[in-house]
């Protein structure tokens, strides 16, 4: 799960040429959360034949794709894609998705409400066998599919038209990457709720350690993300036994101050303000 989030974070940062891009900042996580919440409420009644897990995953994936397409469309005009507009649109979409999730919660009954709100905090405590298999499968697919685009992502950092001048099919590359990100984030949201800041902080730290070359950054982020989340989850289980603190709360509490200190110090590592 950590590997998925960190990989998706590293790819988004490359794709949007912005070290601050993160699936949760550009609205993917918000959209996926809305999709999953809607699926929880509607799906159980409408499609009783399918396993609940599949319905939620599909809802999260659809929500993620819808959000990213919307944000992307809003931020793109004939002169290219504006990263600033994209981040702002992402904030707007996240706010809208948040409001709609609240609306869903408002109409949900008590049992469902508790389920949604626990799940939103992010947790890994419910590791049933099909969930683990799904997570492993998606991790494997992403770990194979994404690093293949490492060199192209490096070129993309120069700028979209520069990458095109280097012979990269930029439109196709972006479509492929956005689909993978939505898949990864969708599945991760469906299985573990929103686990904040892993996708943002991990690639950032790995980049400071080994440089921005995506051929090394992507596998490095996957590995570091997995380790970080394992540590966070262990801590979440040990801090207040027998209760288990939802791990999403823990990563946010630890991640935010860490990220803020990175923001202040990054000039020292050769990062300039985007």
């Amino acid at each position: 799960m950590g590997a998925i989030l960190a990989l998706c974070g590293a790819v988004s940062q490359g794709l949007f040429r912005n070290p601050l891009a993160d699936p949760s900042l550009i609205g993917v996580t918000g959209g996926a959360t809305l999709g999953a919440a809607a699926a929880m409420v509607l799906g159980a009644g409408a499609l009783p034949a399918l396993p609940v897990l599949t319905v939620i995953s599909f809802g999260a994936f659809a929500g993620g794709v819808a959000a990213v397409l919307l944000v992307y469309r809003l931020a793109t005009d004939s002169t290219g894609t504006s990263v600033a507009t994209m981040l702002l649109a992402g904030i707007a979409i996240t706010a809208l998705a948040g409001a709609l999730v609240s609306l869903v919660e408002f109409y949900a009954d008590n049992a469902l409400l508790r389920r949604i709100s626990l799940w939103k905090m992010g947790g890994l405590e419910t590791g049933s066998r099909p969930e683990v298999v799904l997570a492993l499968a998606v991790t494997a697919v992403l770990c194979v599919a994404l690093p293949r685009h490492g060199t192209a992502l490096n070129a993309l950092l120069l700028g979209e038209s520069e990458a095109a001048h280097l012979g990269i099919r930029v439109g196709r590359l972006k479509a492929v990457l956005v689909t993978w990100i939505a898949l990864g984030v969708g599945v991760s949201v469906a299985l573990a709720g929103t686990i904040a800041f892993v996708g943002l902080v991990v690639p950032h730290v790995v980049r400071l350690a080994i440089g921005p070359d995506h051929r090394y950054l992507l596998p490095g982020s996957a590995l570091a993300g997995a380790i970080l989340l394992l540590l966070a989850d262990t801590a979440a289980r040990l801090l207040a036994p027998p209760a288990e603190i939802p791990v999403g709360i823990l990563t946010a509490i630890v991640g935010v101050p860490f990220f803020l200190s990175l923001l202040r110090q990054r000039a020292r590592f050769g990062m300039v303000a985007p």
Binding site: S78, S161, A164, H165, L166, R169, P212, G270
Partner: protein, 264 residues
């Protein structure tokens, strides 16, 4: 001289609105074309159209007998290298990594790539910067690194190979360069042209342009005002009218090409 790039009644622009209209042009191997004109005349738009960034709104642009838009991206990238006016790289790559990105369209092997990168670093006087982080360089240094990246895209398998059939597009390559590096740029462009590379560049420094270009394309308001040799075009009357300011023109004391300077 065979034609490498041909523009026929070319119009190009943004969002369906033509910035550039009805340009006709033939460029041969080894020719250096300078673009000249006031701000907003369409110089960058023409370069971006030639780089394939902008599809023609009307007319056509033909590279080596085939419409530019019909070239597969990688094949085109092996023939056309383009240096934009400004670059926005905000990630801390080393200079060597940035220049190496220019080798992406090629698969000449590690040894050829290394030889070519070493050569272009020397041509742009950036060898001593190779291990530094790009984001921490000065504006002029960054410009030379970007130039090195674009130059190493031109070569296929060796830094000394002949360059017929390649097109180098430079948008204001000297804007941030000091005098010594401007001269280095002029020498490099001349050398590439001598080896058959076709070069199109826009420069605001008329004297650099005059010393370097075989022909000048003068743009004003998106239309072609004139297309001729620097000696024929760089006259007090023509320039004064083009830029709306009084200028004097004298031949270079040693080389003979026209030098332009303001009167006041």
């Amino acid at each position: 001289m065979s034609t490498l790039l041909e523009a026929r009644h070319l119009s190009a622009g943004w969002g369906g609105c033509a910035v550039l209209s009805d340009i006709d042009l033939d460029l041969g191997a080894g020719e250096v074309l300078g673009l000249l004109g006031p701000n907003g005349a369409g110089k960058s738009t023409l370069l971006r159209a030639m780089a394939g960034d902008l599809a023609p709104l009307a007319g056509e642009l033909v590279l080596d007998g085939r419409p530019l838009s019909a070239w597969p991206p990688q094949a085109r990238a092996r023939r056309v290298a383009y240096l934009p006016q400004a670059s926005s790289l905000a990630f801390p790559f080393t200079v060597h990594e940035v220049v190496m990105l220019g080798r992406l369209p090629h698969d000449a092997g590690r040894r050829a790539d290394d030889a070519i990168v070493a050569a272009v670093l020397a041509w742009t006087d950036t060898t001593h910067l190779a291990g530094r982080l790009y984001t921490l360089l000065s504006g002029g240094e960054q410009q030379r690194v970007q130039l090195a990246r674009v130059l190493c895209q031109l070569m296929h398998s060796s830094p000394e190979e002949p360059l017929e059939g390649r097109l180098l597009l430079l948008d204001e390559p000297s804007a941030a360069l000091d005098l010594r590096h401007q001269q280095l740029l002029v020498d490099t462009v001349r050398d590439l042209a001598r080896r058959g590379c076709t070069v199109v560049l826009s420069l605001h420094d008329l004297n650099l342009l005059s010393s370097l270009a075989d022909r000048l394309l003068v743009l004003a308001g998106g239309a072609c005002r004139a297309l001729d040799t620097p000696a024929a075009l760089l006259t007090c009357e023509f320039l004064g009218e083009l830029f709306g300011t009084e200028l004097a023109v004298q031949p270079h004391p040693l080389k003979g090409y026209p030098l332009v300077f303001p009167l006041d």
